[in-house]
């Protein structure tokens, strides 16, 4: 109880900002749903029913879905469904509703954990800017629709925060959960490895052992899922092999990128350019010697890119390192504007950028509105 009080006291401001951003996001969503005569259940679409089938009936024994009968819910990692199943039992909710509620709870927690992360990695960027960037961007939709994005962001932020604080075993334990959230979660092991290699020279032998254990813990969630799949249906790699049902067979990611850049379709071109921007952000992180963030994002970008450009926005804009760079960029842009128009420098020790970024919020909300409408109309570009 004392520690909770201490936690609340220490984090009062960040908690308030997180809650405020989350409430605005939820109010905006409620407004869109109401105006369009839709309900919360309409949000459970595309992958969400697959997760719901897992919550209700567990993992399939054999493939059955799609026209070729080759789709199964093995592609959908277990961490979110386990928590959603607890939520269904605790509150007697249907599986789709429980998934939506669970993803929203993780979304709130993810905003707070992202603010904590940003305080460590980019302390000069205003927490309000970071919260708005996360809660009001056009792809924040995915935090509300029974997908794994919010859980992924939460656990990646917690793991990266623990890593920066030198708590390798904690980072590895959280990483173990992350690797059971979605396949790209396993790349947190690269972040641990990069940090371990960087700091092992000055570490004691016990600290080195902790680093090693942290790195070994990170893929544990994925490995347990593989063992489960083997026990369930005989193929430990079924989560990857079943991707053939969605025609997402891995190949050279840069071929997909090039093909997208030359595409006639505007959405595909946009996703390709987003991927290029993401790779540039990763290069920037490497240049800043933020190896842990860079390695995590490199894996989390190239793996989905290897299976095509579809759904790239949600794979990119729920990655903590990329969001940090984005927040930094907006903040730097605002500083430049201030210097040009007001002509004063800030006292960078104590002051955040002036909130000119608020001018971007209406554009961002317009984008979010557009994404919601596309989702409700089941347009393929928001899959």
């Amino acid at each position: 109880m004392e520690s909770l009080k201490y936690f609340l006291k220490q984090n009062k401001r960040l908690l308030l900002i997180s809650c405020f951003a989350f409430v605005i996001n939820q109010a905006f969503e409620f407004f869109i749903l109401t105006v369009n005569g839709a309900g919360y259940l309409d949000l459970c679409y595309w992958d969400c029913p697959w997760y719901a089938s897992t919550v209700q009936h567990g993992y399939d024994f054999a493939p059955h879905g799609h026209e070729r009968g080759d789709a199964a819910n093995w592609a959908f990692f277990p961490a979110l469904t386990i928590v959603a199943r607890w939520v269904t039992q605790l509150f007697s909710l249907s599986a789709p509703v429980a998934l939506i509620v669970t993803s929203k709870l993780f979304f709130l927690a993810a905003i707070f954990s992202f603010l904590k992360l940003s305080q460590i990695y980019t302390p000069r960027v205003s927490p309000s800017l970071c919260a708005a960037l996360l809660a009001l961007n056009p792809y924040s939709l995915y935090g509300n629709v029974g997908y794994t994005e919010s859980m992924f962001l939460l656990f990646s932020c917690v793991s990266l925060t623990a890593l920066r604080q030198g708590r390798f075993v904690s980072a590895g334990l959280v990483g173990a959960v992350l690797s059971a959230v979605r396949p790209t979660g396993v790349f947190i092991a690269l972040a641990l490895l990069a940090t371990g290699l960087k700091s092992q020279a000055k570490a004691s032998s016990e600290e080195r052992l902790q680093m090693l254990l942290g790195i070994l813990l990170a893929p544990l969630g994925l490995a347990l899922f593989m063992v489960f799949l083997y026990w369930r249906m005989g193929d430990a790699m079924a989560f990857s092999h079943v991707q053939i049902a969605w025609e997402r067979v891995p190949s050279n990611p840069f071929m997909h990128l090039l093909s997208g850049l030359l595409a006639q379709n505007i959405s595909i071109q946009l996703w390709a350019w987003m991927s290029v921007v993401a790779l540039l952000m990763i290069a920037y992180l490497l240049w800043r010697k933020e190896y842990a963030l860079a390695m995590f994002s490199l894996g989390a970008t190239l793996l989905p890119l290897a299976t095509g450009l579809v759904a790239m926005p949600r794979y990119l804009w729920w990655q903590a390192p990329l969001l940090l760079v984005l927040a930094q960029s907006v903040s730097a842009f605002v500083n430049v504007l201030h210097r040009v128009f007001v002509g004063k420098r800030f006292n960078r020790q104590i002051q955040y950028s002036p909130p000119y970024w608020l001018a971007l919020v209406p554009f961002s909300l317009w984008g979010l509105h557009r994404t919601y409408i596309a989702w409700l109309l089941q347009e393929v570009w928001v899959i």
Binding site: A62, P63, H64, H66, E67, R68, G69, D70, S205, E206, L209, Q210, L212, L213, L216, L217, P219, L220, A223, M226, V227, Y230, M233, G234, D235, A236, M237, A238, H241, V242, I244, E247, R248, V249, S251, M255, H256, S259, G260, L262, A263, Q264, N265, S267, I268, Q269, W271, A272, T307, G308, L309, V310
Partner: protein, 187 residues
Amino acid sequence: MKAKSMLVLAALVLCFFYLAVLALLQHPAVSDEYRRYFITGESGLSPAQVGRLQALEMGGTLNFRSDRLGFDSWSNAENEYRWSLGKTPKLHFLVDSPQNAEALKGLALRFQPHGQQIVRIYVNDHLLYDEQADAQGPVIATLSLPPALIRQGHNIIRFELPNARMPGNGDPRVLGVALFELVLNPV
């Protein structure tokens, strides 16, 4: 010292566990059909497709959604056609008796090439069609079947599409021809 020993022990346990997982990866306990479709990619016909394939009824037309064709390395059906995937898509079909095998004298395939395509068509590994096709309009490939080429049981129409390629619009599929229908014993 005790903490160090615990760390070493935990690391060793994890290493052994991962080795066991690697061993499981090497030995999937699945059917041959599953292995050939999902793991090695030797077959483009899913186990469910194999299970529901029905024998041909002589005469008539089978469209791109027919249950009597096994679409091996073909995409999901669209509204009017079905795209081939890769350079060697196949169509599997079953013939339930020697009489029916003998009765099948010819086939006609109607398809739309994806741009310029060299299209070779084999029936049970015999080359019966070799043409260059372009995207001006649908192509009808009429195949005259030599006696005894069609057999009772499993038969395969195999395409060779060396120019199949990604459409360049971000679609990661390697497309060759869009199939509309297969006519049995065309007049």
